[in-house]
């Protein structure tokens, strides 16, 4: 598989001396969906800003589809990598939605009809048709969030980078946005990189997780990352609620090796278990059950 993003030995310190990144290495493959998790101040946002050359590390390099960032023009990179920032008020800076969505394509030097076509498509993809002439300050937060994704999609990037796309959204907008991101990946093969604290979205949303805390601590499938208790504790990370529930069930004698991370996986798991055990499964309480539950509780306390 082709590497979409390759980062080697990247370090970065802000001008005031704050060291934000140290020797970061990462590979994201074409068509993959990858999450970057880590505590507040871990450098996630700083890292994302390197992916299209907004920030440049002192040494080390970032390559996009094999092209080194240091060697190609910024315009080339911007065409490939679209970044959706966390606060939509930063992202939507033009007076109307149409102007905002047209901003990128115009800067790419496209012809007027092509620009209009792209704006129309981006609005359609995000379900915002009819919003062309709305001003950003008259939109709800969820609409703004979708609009800022549309403003990046109108540039038709092959890699989409999102900083906390699900933060502060109501359940419906959140589900909608997750659906859209997945669809962009599955239907158009867009590579996705997401920085997030939303652990419940991770199993559904990504294939692979990087734990970043100044440097890459580890990398792996959601299953692998969420099973590593020490790692989670050291990096202030949460696990999905479903995962915790099945750990509780395990204390009560439910038999499973690999714990489910999402509702879908849970349904699958239960169906399988019930199938093996002639149509039911069985829980019990032993002396050790309470001890185990207590241990489990203390495991997830953050101090």
């Amino acid at each position: 598989m082709r590497e979409a993003i390759t980062v080697r030995n990247l370090s970065y310190a802000y001008p005031d001396g704050t060291g934000a990144l140290e020797d970061v290495n990462m590979s994201v493959y074409e068509g993959e969906r990858v999450a970057i998790v880590g505590p507040n101040g871990a450098g996630k946002t700083t890292f994302l800003l390197h992916l299209n050359g907004i920030l440049r590390g002192s040494d080390g390099q970032v390559e996009v589809f094999g092209k080194s960032m240091a060697k190609v023009k910024r315009g080339e990179i911007i065409k490939e990598v679209g970044i959706v920032f966390q606060d939509p008020d930063d992202q939507l800076f033009m007076p109307t939605l149409f102007d905002d969505l047209a901003f990128g394509p115009i800067n790419l030097g496209l012809k007027e009809e092509e620009v209009r076509e792209r704006v129309k498509n981006a609005l359609l993809t995000l379900g915002l048709s009819g919003y062309e002439h709305r001003c950003p300050h008259h939109l709800s937060y969820g609409e703004k969030k979708k609009a800022s994704l549309a403003a990046v999609m109108s540039m038709e990037p092959r890699i989409l980078v999102l900083d906390e796309p699900t933060a502060n959204l109501d359940p419906r907008s959140r589900a909608e946005l997750i659906g859209i991101i997945k669809e962009l990946n599955e239907r158009e093969g867009i590579t996705i990189v997401i920085a997030t604290h939303d652990v419940n979205a991770i199993p559904e949303l990504v294939d692979r997780v990087y734990v970043l805390n100044k440097t890459v601590i580890t990398e792996g499938t959601p299953q692998k990352i969420f099973s590593d208790v020490e790692l989670l504790k050291e990096n202030n990370l949460e696990v999905p609620e479903v995962f915790k529930l099945f750990e509780v069930l395990r204390c009560f004698g439910y038999n499973c090796e690999e714990l489910p991370l999402s509702i879908e996986e849970a349904v699958e798991h239960l169906t399988r278990t019930v199938g093996i055990n002639d149509g039911h499964f069985h829980l019990h309480i032993h002396e050790h059950t309470h001890d185990e539950v207590r241990k489990l509780r203390s495991k997830y306390e953050h101090h």
């Binding site: 800003l49 299209n52 907004i54 910024r74 315009g75 911007i78 679209g82 970044i83 920032f85 606060d87 008020d89 930063d90 992202q91 939507l92 800076f93 033009m94 007076p95 109307t96 149409f98 102007d99 047209a102 901003f103 990128g104 115009i106 800067n107 790419l108 007027e112 620009v115 209009r116 002439h133 001003c135 950003p136 300050h137 403003a151 990046v152 540039m155």
Partner: protein
């Protein structure tokens, strides 16, 4: 809630002024404003004022809305009027202690006041009858310098964001028992809050700039405009400009 500065609140009404092509409208109105401001004759300036009110009525913008804004202008302009009336040298017509009012002072004061009111009233049918982003686009296509257009654009976009931010800080201060008093403590607190707001807007500017560069900003953003100037617009613009010119002709030959 603090009030947003929404000059274009009534942009969605329908009137001849709303239908006027934005570029033609801006040119015609600016021409009219400048010509009224330059008229030296009080009687003719009054004709200008009536014409301004006529155009305002034509625009269907509620008078109460205009008066609300005019209040502030009035306070400013009337203070000028008073100062001029008392200080302009000339024939004395009244005296309070050591201060005297002159006829010339009254005349000049009235002239300036009426000019100012006419100009401010004309602003409403000019830019209150289209959305502000349309105004910006019209300016852009009239070849107003790009840096000025950008400044207007971002001011328009972010004034609301800052208003909200200010509101949040204010509410947070209120929630923790802060009351506005004229004490040193209150002033210091406000100073700190303002400083905080200033830092926040600086940080926002940095983030917005990043977002702009991420989408290929190089210093000259362009927008796509679709204005459609028609014969009607030419006629309307020509009439307004014609009126402005005739004010000066009348004033020059002194028929009134």
């Amino acid at each position: 809630m603090i009030e947003y500065p929404e000059i274009d609140r009534y942009a969605s009404l329908d009137s001849p002024m709303h239908r006027f092509d934005p570029r033609a409208k801006i040119i015609a109105f600016l021409f009219l404003i400048f010509s009224i401001v330059l008229i030296p004759d009080l009687k003719i300036v009054f004709i200008g004022l009536f014409f301004a009110i006529f155009l305002l009525i034509l625009s269907r913008i509620p008078i109460a809305f205009v008066l609300g804004h005019l209040k502030w202008v009035a306070m400013f302009v009337l203070s000028f009027f008073v100062i001029l009336a008392f200080t302009f040298p000339g024939e004395e017509i009244a005296k309070f202690y050591f201060l005297s009012i002159t006829a010339e002072g009254l005349y000049t004061g009235s002239l300036i006041t009426i000019r100012a009111f006419s100009a401010v009233i004309l602003i409403f049918p000019m830019i209150g009858t289209m959305r502000f982003d349309t105004t910006i686009k019209a300016l852009e296509s009239l070849k107003v310098p790009n840096s000025l257009v950008q400044m207007l654009m971002f001011t328009y976009r972010y004034i609301f964001v800052f208003a909200d931010e200010f509101q949040r800080v204010w509410t947070a201060m209120g929630a923790r028992g802060f009351k506005l008093r004229t004490s040193l403590y209150a002033l210091r607190t406000i100073g700190k809050a303002m400083g905080m707001l200033f830092v926040r807007s600086y940080e926002r500017a940095e983030r917005v700039y990043r977002a702009m560069r991420s989408r290929g900003y190089t210093g000259n953003p362009k927008t796509l405009v679709e204005f459609d100037i028609r014969r009607r617009d030419y006629i309307l613009a020509a009439s307004i400009i014609g009126f402005a010119v005739s004010l000066h002709i009348i004033s020059f030959i002194g028929v009134v």
